[in-house]
């Protein structure tokens, strides 16, 4: 029998459990409905199409307060998504680095890697955020300072890096690649993401500087260092879980240290660390919601802070927020999932 095949349960218990679930859900639904009827709560979705009437300080796509509310929610979702994706990439790099360093005693920096993990894994996330934001990034100069002949501009508001026409060239390149992929078989998703990146890069190309606000930097740093400590532990554990016999077999085959790691140990370890890494990537996406504390306009801040307050539609906004987080996290989950894996 296949391991994932469904177990047979007596039909009575199956119906009983179904009835139980339906009962709970409908009890919650009717409870809410009765309260809503009793107190004349008007739950309408019409506010989504009326104009937003608030500014958003950081946005990757063009936005003005005259745009509809659903577009403001999209802007906030894109903020969340791009922040999460950037953190994913850098946390993976740092996590693998510190994980490999701390797995083997032969490295001189093992003590550093393991103490890094100890510090960042055992302190609360919000505490770390306040440390980076109020303790580190608020030390930046009040007025704008210019370094390296205008290559870097630093102030307490933001950090700007000179990019020249780089983003315009990148945008053009991505556009070409996106159109090329459109004509390939089964590359529609790839093409779509290249075209989206091309569009986002084109928006950056209006200015010769790439500007990141202090809030974005603080969130990026906090989440990167926090998650990297978890990833380091996962990587370390997976590397150490490869049996010694395999190690010996690789040596017996005459592989040197580098090839042994690259061809034998790492592929085996990667297989066991993958599900745990997916866990971490999903956690990153949800952890971006701490941006609400320091005023970064991500999904949580815009939807449950500003929009709930201006429209009063608490239930709708909260359920919308949950749905968007759910779909973003599911997307991440499917992105890293193997083919033919039971869901």
């Amino acid at each position: 029998m296949h391991i994932y095949q469904r177990q047979k349960i007596h039909w009575f218990y199956e119906l009983l459990s179904l009835a139980f679930i339906v009962l709970i859900i409908s009890w919650l639904y009717f409870n809410w409905k009765i309260n809503a009827l009793g107190y004349q709560v008007s739950n309408t979705w019409t506010f989504l199409s009326s104009s937003a009437n608030f500014f958003i300080s950081d946005h990757w796509l063009p936005f003005s307060p005259k745009d509809p509310t659903w577009y403001a929610i999209l802007i906030a979702s894109v903020n969340t998504f791009i922040l999460g994706m950037s953190v994913m990439m850098s946390a993976t790099v740092f996590g693998f680095l510190f994980g490999i360093l701390s797995a083997y005693p032969k490295y001189k920096l093992q003590w550093f890697a393991s103490s890094y993990v100890d510090v960042f894994r055992n302190t609360p996330l919000v505490g770390q955020l306040f440390f980076w934001y109020f303790g580190v990034f608020y030390l930046m100069p009040q007025t704008e300072h210019i370094y390296y002949d205008g290559f870097v501009k630093v102030s307490i508001q933001s950090l700007s890096i000179y990019t020249g026409n780089l983003f315009f060239i990148l945008s053009f390149f991505y556009l070409i690649v996106g159109i090329y992929f459109l004509f390939l078989k089964r590359a529609f998703g790839m093409s779509l993401s290249f075209l989206l990146m091309s569009f986002i890069y084109f928006n950056f190309s209006h200015s010769h500087y790439f500007t990141m606000s202090v809030e974005w930097l603080a969130l990026y740093t906090t989440l990167t260092f926090y998650t990297a400590s978890y990833i380091a532990e996962i990587v370390k554990a997976s590397l150490l879980s490869v049996p010694n016999a395999i190690d010996d077999a690789a040596i017996a085959l005459g592989l040197n240290d580098k090839d042994k790691f690259k061809l034998v140990i790492y592929p085996i370890a990667l297989k066991s660390m993958r599900p745990m890494l997916i866990n971490q990537y999903i956690t990153i996406m949800k952890n971006t919601s701490i941006g609400m504390l320091i005023g970064y306009p991500e999904l949580m801040n815009v939807l449950t802070g500003t929009i709930i307050n201006s429209t009063g539609q608490t239930l709708i906004c909260v359920s919308l927020m949950m749905c968007i987080y759910l779909s973003v996290c599911l997307f991440c989950q499917f992105l890293f999932m193997r083919k033919h894996e039971p869901i």
């Binding site: 047979k8 007596h10 039909w11 199956e14 119906l15 179904l18 009835a19 339906v22 009962l23 409908s26 009890w27 009717f30 409870n31 009765i34 309260n35 809503a36 009827l37 009793g38 107190y39 004349q40 709560v41 008007s42 009437n53 608030f54 500014f55 958003i56 300080s57 307060p65 109020f134 608020y138 009040q142 307490i156 508001q157 202090v214 809030e215 609400m292 504390l293 320091i294 005023g295 306009p297 801040n301 449950t304 802070g305 500003t306 709930i308 307050n309 201006s310 429209t311 009063g312 608490t314 239930l315």
Partner: protein, 347 residues
Amino acid sequence: MHHNISTFLIAGIFKRWYVRFMRWLLIIYLCLIQTIQANIIPEIKKRGVLNCGVTTGLPGFSFMNEKGEWAGFEVDYCRGIAAAIFNDPNKVKFIPLTNQMQFLALNMKQVDVLARVISINYTRATQLSGMFPVTHYFDDEAVLIYNLNIKKLSDLDGKTICLVSGSTTEQNLYHYALTQGWHYKPLVMSRGQLAVRALASGRCKALAGDRSSLYVFKNELPKPKQANVFDESIALEPLGLMVRQSDIDLYQLIQWMHYALVLSEQKNITQATIASKQLTLSDFNEQMGIMSLTMSYLPDHWLYQVINAVGNYGEIYSRNLTKPLNIPRNNNKLMSQGGMMYSPSFN
């Protein structure tokens, strides 16, 4: 032979189960509908305590003092309601709520009254199933600047302005900037204390909010003398208590309690004069011009109990706002002294 749901779906047994199930649900639904009441005061009496939703901490309005008791301007209003119903200002359960959850907590009957510096506006009064009995504090929206030498509000053009999430400030500031033709960058912080720290570090050049809160925030800055609350105001922000639309009795209680607090200040009736028995109930009624104070579910001398417990409007104001925090009374003076506080007569 094995059984699963799909076999029974085809056999139609599930359908019969479903019909029976829905019948039960309908019965439960109808039972629950009948539990909705039109009046809340009998329920509060039965419960023995008033549930009052307050802020998580705003000095002067609702905060926990050094003795670990809730105190403040709004807290005294809740104590006044409890005094009217129970003749005991301590029969109140204070429930701290965040800006985001306040209206949901009121709708879902977690609290009976919201006393958390709520600005009155059209959306809240019509679409949130709540009512505002009376404006008990005339506030306006202003801007707090720190270490910044500017003269006019329009000098903030293009600068970053800190805001606290979950207030009407965001919309009002946007409309003000729109009509004045200038632009700003908002930094929407989750809590007032964080916004104050951002202002102190120079991350934002100004902090916009209700004038009453800004006076509180000014004292939390490292050098309060270098801070300045602009006289220019962005919008008027009348603050009020909020009750559910179904609870008309509590609505009337709060409305006329507020009027009585104002009238007793006008007539120089204080907590001390009542507590020391200088003023008997009949004298009190005579001075206030009360003919008959009949109100359903309440004793006939409920206003006497209220003034006895919390004092008049001026006393509440000076105890919570003038003495500890130096917040001027501005628009909240009596109408005879140039303010906006008035009371209809009680005859």
